[in-house]
């Protein structure tokens, strides 16, 4: 193969594969395959076509996507478990704190503090999980979930700030609640409504 052909191949692989290590391997694989085919008498263009098709008929991007999915599958599973665990305790403590406050029993702030700390963790794990799965989601799904997570972070952090009488608590709560009331809740209820209409 000529120098220019090596460069052409490297540029093509570089355009489609962003991970450096994987790129080096794919480039070496394609070059090895083309060199072998050319030694057997094939011309560069047909050898190149065959090499790319044999390695990845659906395109090189598919290799990177599958590698990412395989590598993050276990992490994503752990992240989801943590998310549900924290979500359960957040709901439990916040609702218990609410009951204690309504009944004027002692200690509702401790329940609210613990519940909101768990809520903040839930939102952090949800955000990480969303980031890890971003390749498999549409732009609309990512936007909807991001707004939901952002409002959750502001509400839980705002409540914690309020408990400690730290500054910016009200503005955090106000923005978080506004997003929740005006965007998150209507979007989710509209989604549930659409699903029930489609199912009936």
């Amino acid at each position: 193969m000529e120098e220019l052909q090596y460069e052409e191949l490297f540029e093509q692989v570089e355009r489609e594969i962003s991970s450096e290590k994987l790129r080096l391997e794919i480039y070496d694989h394609i070059c090895s395959c083309i060199e072998y085919l050319m030694n057997q008498g094939a011309d560069f263009e047909s050898a190149k076509q065959k090499a790319f098709f044999e390695l990845a008929p659906k395109g090189l991007k598919q290799i990177e996507k599958e590698t990412f999915i395989l590598l993050t599958l276990t992490n994503s599973f752990i992240m989801k478990k943590l998310m549900y665990f924290c979500g359960f305790f957040a709901t439990l403590f916040i609702l218990t704190g609410f009951v204690f406050r309504m009944m004027h029993w002692p200690g509702p702030t401790a329940f609210m503090f613990t519940g909101n700390a768990f809520l903040l963790l839930t939102m952090i794990f949800s955000g990480t999980n969303l980031f890890m799965n971003r390749e498999n989601l549409s732009a609309v799904q990512i936007a909807k979930s991001s707004i939901g997570i952002f409002s959750g972070i502001l509400i839980s952090a705002g409540t914690l700030f309020k408990i400690f009488h730290w500054p910016t608590a009200s503005i955090q709560l106000l923005i978080g609640m506004s997003l929740l009331i005006c965007i998150v809740v209507p979007t989710y209820f509209w989604q549930f409504y659409k699903r029930s209409v489609l199912a009936s």
């Binding site: 290590k21 994987l22 794919i26 070496d28 090895s32 990845a56 659906k58 290799i63 590698t67 395989l70």
Partner: protein, 113 residues
Amino acid sequence: MYSKELLKGTLTTIILNLLKDRGRMYGYEITQAVKEKSTGKILIREGSLYPALHKMLADGLLSTHEENIGKRIRVYYDLTEKGKAELVLRNDELFSFFDTIKSILLPESKIYA
């Protein structure tokens, strides 16, 4: 040629066995060795080799070593101690699976013949 689904569950075991038999290997070499050993019946394509290699690397079953080959870098894979132990487990599991499948698919007279 066998279907992609059949190959999917056995690819890790195939790679582990090849590396045990031949020592360190690079990606293209692995695809050629599989093709050669299976007399062309198994072709690793559709991008399944590199995701599998990287997953095995992340799981600690393989180690890598890079070498300059002219103007490009070649990544060689080798078995780790964990990979060698995993190979034994996977081989046992696969052979036991073959026996079970045989006992399900073949009539009893043929199994004990």
